[in-house]
Symmetry: C2
Subunit: 118 residues, 2 copies
DNA sequence: TCCATATTTCCATTATTGTTGAAGTATTGA
DNA sequence: TCAATACTTCAACAATAATGGAAATATGGA
């Protein structure tokens, strides 16, 4: 089960947001920690800490590949988060002003929860 | 200037997310702190702390109204945040699967920044 | 003017997160 | 089997954020 605030908090950190964006950009095959570590100039322990966090909340996924590891963005989770935000945190009209959004019934309700009164 | 991670972090807290959702739901005229305080069962100081935070990052706005105060959601900011997320943190195809999104050129580029290499 | 009310600011305390070196684990190649 | 590599987990510390009582501020009504 996903918690909206948890996902938002995970992305609400400069370093983790940067990591996540690199992974999104990298596509489904993802990236190796050493690449990320170098790209962002982070010591491996710090990187590992943030990767673990993102992984724990479900925004990225870890694939073991023999000796190596690979992390990739979990697009569906981000998709859910966006659905949650457009459904719950927008005026409705205002949001997605560029896109032709139909009534929200077009899309199955998100499984992301926000405890205080759905 | 808005910072994506700052906005995400602001919403990445159960209480603030709940406050924000109440304000979104309340529409443009917003709500008084005492209503929020009661609705969420928060002591006024705690509420005030979170309102100040949301206000500082630009997600809500404060209107002074004689003796009272009123807080209202800043829809445009949320709109920008969603634009940033769909433009930078999605596979592109995956996100907004329900909505008929055209090419992102339809919309002026967001003014939200994510420091690490935009 | 004085009081009640609404809310904030101040402050101290507690709780949560972030950082990073050192040690540990797993895998592969020699 | 041993050494090298690629990470992670551990542990200690530093930094930041959250909580809520007490005091301060502002407004309007009696």
């Amino acid at each position: 089960m996903l918690l909206a605030a948890e996902l938002l908090a995970a992305l609400g950190h400069e370093t983790r947001l940067a990591i996540f964006r690199l992974l999104v950009e990298a596509g489904p095959q993802g990236r190796y920690p050493n690449e990320l570590s170098e790209a962002l100039g982070l010591p491996p322990t710090t990187l590992s800490f943030h990767l673990a966090h993102l992984n724990r909340v479900g925004l990225i996924r870890r694939h073991k590949e023999g000796r190596y590891l690979r992390y990739a963005a979990a697009y569906e989770t981000m998709d859910e988060l966006l659905a949650f935000l457009t459904q719950n945190c927008c005026g409705g009209v205002t949001c997605l002003s560029g896109a032709a959004t139909g009534p929200s019934e077009k899309r199955p309700p998100t499984t992301i929860l926000a405890p205080q009164g759905t």
